[in-house]
Amino acid sequence: MYKIIRKEILSDTIKLMVVEAPHVVRKAEPGQFVIVRINETGERIPLTIADYDREQGTITIVFQEVGKSTKHLGTLQPGDEISTVAGPLGHPTEIQKYGTIICAAGGVGIAPMYPIARALKNAGNTVISIIGVRSRDFLFWEDKMRYVSDELVVCTDDGSYGRKGVVTEPLKELLASRRIARVWAIGPGVMMKFVSLSTRDFNVPTMVSLNTIMVDGTGMCGGCRVLLNDGAKFVCTDGPEFDAHKVDWDNLLSRYQIYKKEEILSFETWKHKCSSDTDCHCEGKR
């Protein structure tokens, strides 16, 4: 069992948790992820490691509440325990000195981007970060991102903060005006797809961190397989970072939908159980 040490509400649907996982933290590197299972009946879900503290033996996870598991996880409090935290999984980001690089992050993707940007900065790169969220209310870690970036552009879809528009707009301007050695993109599938299309036009190598359906996270199930132009790969063991220009985006986006129906049923069942359970202490209840 792994204890939740701290919890922070970053926005309406995005939460941060610091979890005791001394076995994971020893080797955790930027770009890697963990598999989390809340309790005995829980599913195994992949969550990117947003930060880690080797001295404290803790990792930080940041997640957006979208389905049953993430919403349930969001109801847990410091002191509560999680049944499974396994990892670190996947290949770490290849950190070296590339020159001027861009870190483009959308929504909850800002969290896993943070340690990558930090490591790239520490390796001597000039880091330009572009972070995009729906509106001001969804923005988090602006200060942290600013701290590890030489330049930071903030975009909101509705223009309620920073620049109005999506991340690809400032991205394209930068690609057209500056010599960019490499781009990283983490965010919703559609956002990564359009970053990929933009950078392809400028022939700039681009890495995306994919978050697909997974069960074990260790190469056993193959549910996470992604089609690249040179064959199928497993996100859990071959990734999670891939050359964006090789990814079959339409197939990737279509595979997100595999369990849509079941995800809704799972959430409805849980919500119902939760609202009829007088001992339930979740936030929805309070």
Binding site: S69, T84, A86, V215, D216, T218, G223, E262, T269
Partner: protein, 475 residues
């Protein structure tokens, strides 16, 4: 009873859950012998002076001796005889392919039916789990620390034997529960998870073995790091990597590896969705490609899921050879047919077909024929030109074998692997190319059986013990 009378007793049938009923649940199909049936069956054994059955057992269970004790009603002796060689009899009795091993060599089988050794073994194993009359005992502490990587059949067997010899054993397991393929692969109706858990827990408690779950070797901790803390390492990480055939369409929604399908169903209990969170996609026509044990398990799980979730129940097994070459355990093939799985023999998939939304809609297949047997005696299947046709299916499960997971080889020094991805190791001793590292089970042989992995775990444990004791006497 005279020797002439014994073979006249008919082989006792195992009570089974009714054919139609069992399709709607995941409860065990074979219900086990009662005491009366067990004694009756035990009475059929001729107690051969030179028992051929034992030579057919990969771990050399003292078969005539345990059967003799059983028919005298002396269960404590039957169990202690069993445990000389077999630490997990309730599991072996359920999943061993006895027809090709002990029972295949039973002298009674020459004229009639062999003694049901597997069923008797299971009876003894179950009796012990219920009564615990014969706990495993640990020898005096040797002061040696051993790491076992993987808690499947080979790892558990190796760990138990080493602990019995007085070594301190820590098992590293990547999943959240120990048991490996016994937990994620073999379905509940064939091997109840409660049996696996209690066999493992019982042994672990008796011997004080430490199990660290959620530890992925190569990622959480590397082999190099383990070696700096332990005197010896056994690698029993199995063959967990699924193979996909290289045909177009494998990434349509609804195509799964059998590993994914079975892991969702067995490890994550998708058959209890939404009480358990993990779902599994099913459909009205499920096609399983392959005809080994994993394919049979997938097909039979599919039928049950269709019934439980109120779908039309239709499951096909697509196999490129014919009925005579089906590689699964006989009983599994029999049960699958009995439950209504449809077998499409001499059929090979060429392409998986999808609809506009990217969902599977069928498989384009080609008819096959078998050539005359080659020097190895196997008949090679060849496609019949122009015989392509389509099979409708909304789910395709690929049960085409597995290979070892390469994660173990990360920072593993000079631990060599073959071009098939298996670890290079001596089949008898389990010694790898790296000093103080042994390996056994599917990681060495490629996907095989539970019992052959247990055999490897056992032989390797003996070699590790020998090595550590020699080292001790040198110092």
């Amino acid at each position: 009873m005279s020797k002439q009378e014994r073979p006249k007793i008919p082989r006792q049938k195992m009570p089974e859950q009714e054919r139609i009923l069992r399709r709607s649940n995941f409860k065990e199909v074979a219900l086990g012998f009662t005491e009366e049936l067990a004694v009756k069956e035990a009475n059929r054994c001729l107690q051969c002076k030179k028992p051929t059955c034992v030579s057919g057992c990969p771990i050399g269970v003292l078969i005539p001796q345990f059967i003799h004790a059983l028919r005298r009603g002396d269960m404590p002796s039957a169990i202690s005889i069993m445990k000389i060689k077999n630490n997990l009899p309730a599991i072996c009795g359920r999943v061993c392919p006895q027809e090709g091993q002990c029972e295949g060599r039973c002298i009674l089988g020459k004229k009639g039916e062999p003694v049901a050794i597997g069923r008797l073994e299971r009876y003894v194993g179950d009796y012990e789990l219920a009564h615990r009359v014969c706990p495993l005992v640990r020898q005096k502490d040797t002061g040696k620390k051993i790491a076992v990587v993987g808690s499947g059949p080979s790892g558990i067997t190796c760990a138990v034997d080493l602990s019995r010899n007085g070594h301190s054993v820590t098992i590293f397991e990547s999943l959240h529960v120990p048991g490996g393929v016994l937990i994620y692969g073999i379905p509940e109706f064939r091997l109840p998870k409660e049996i696996v858990n209690s066999e493992i827990n019982y042994a672990v408690e008796c011997l004080n073995i430490k199990i660290l779950t959620d530890h992925i070797i190569g990622r959480t901790i590397t082999l190099d790091e383990i070696l700096s803390e332990y005197d010896a390492v056994f690698i029993g990480t199995g063959a967990g990597l699924p193979s996909f055939i290289n045909i177009p369409g494998i990434n349509y929604k609804g195509v799964m590896s059998a590993n994914e399908f079975l892991t969702r169903v067995n490890l994550m209990k998708a058959y209890l969705f939404p009480e358990y969170d993990t779902p599994v996609r099913i459909g009205n026509r499920i096609a399983v490609i392959g005809a080994g044990n994993v394919a049979m398990d997938s097909a039979r799980c599919s039928l049950r899921l269709q019934t439980i979730f109120g779908q039309k129940a239709e499951v096909h097994i697509i196999y490129r050879r014919s009925r005579d070459e089906v590689p699964s355990r006989k009983e599994e093939f029999h049960h699958a047919e009995e439950e209504g799985v449809i077998f499409d023999f001499l059929t090979n998939p060429v392409e998986i077909l999808g609809d506009a939304e990217g969902n599977v809609r069928g498989i384009r297949c080609i008819r096959m024929k078998l050539e005359e047997p080659d020097s190895s005696g196997r008949r090679k299947p060849v496609p019949i030109e122009g015989s392509e046709f389509e099979i409708e299916a909304d789910i395709v499960i690929m049960a085409l074998g597995t290979s070892p997971n390469p994660l173990i080889f990360i920072n593993s020094g000079n631990l060599q692997r073959t071009k098939h991805g298996t670890a290079v190791a001596d089949i008898e001793t389990g010694r790898t190319t790296r000093e103080r590292v042994w390996a056994g089970g599917d990681i060495v042989t490629g996907a095989a059986t539970v019992i052959s992995a247990m055999g490897a775990g056992k032989r390797t444990a003996a070699d590790i013990h020998r090595f550590l004791m020699e080292e001790n006497s040198k110092n």
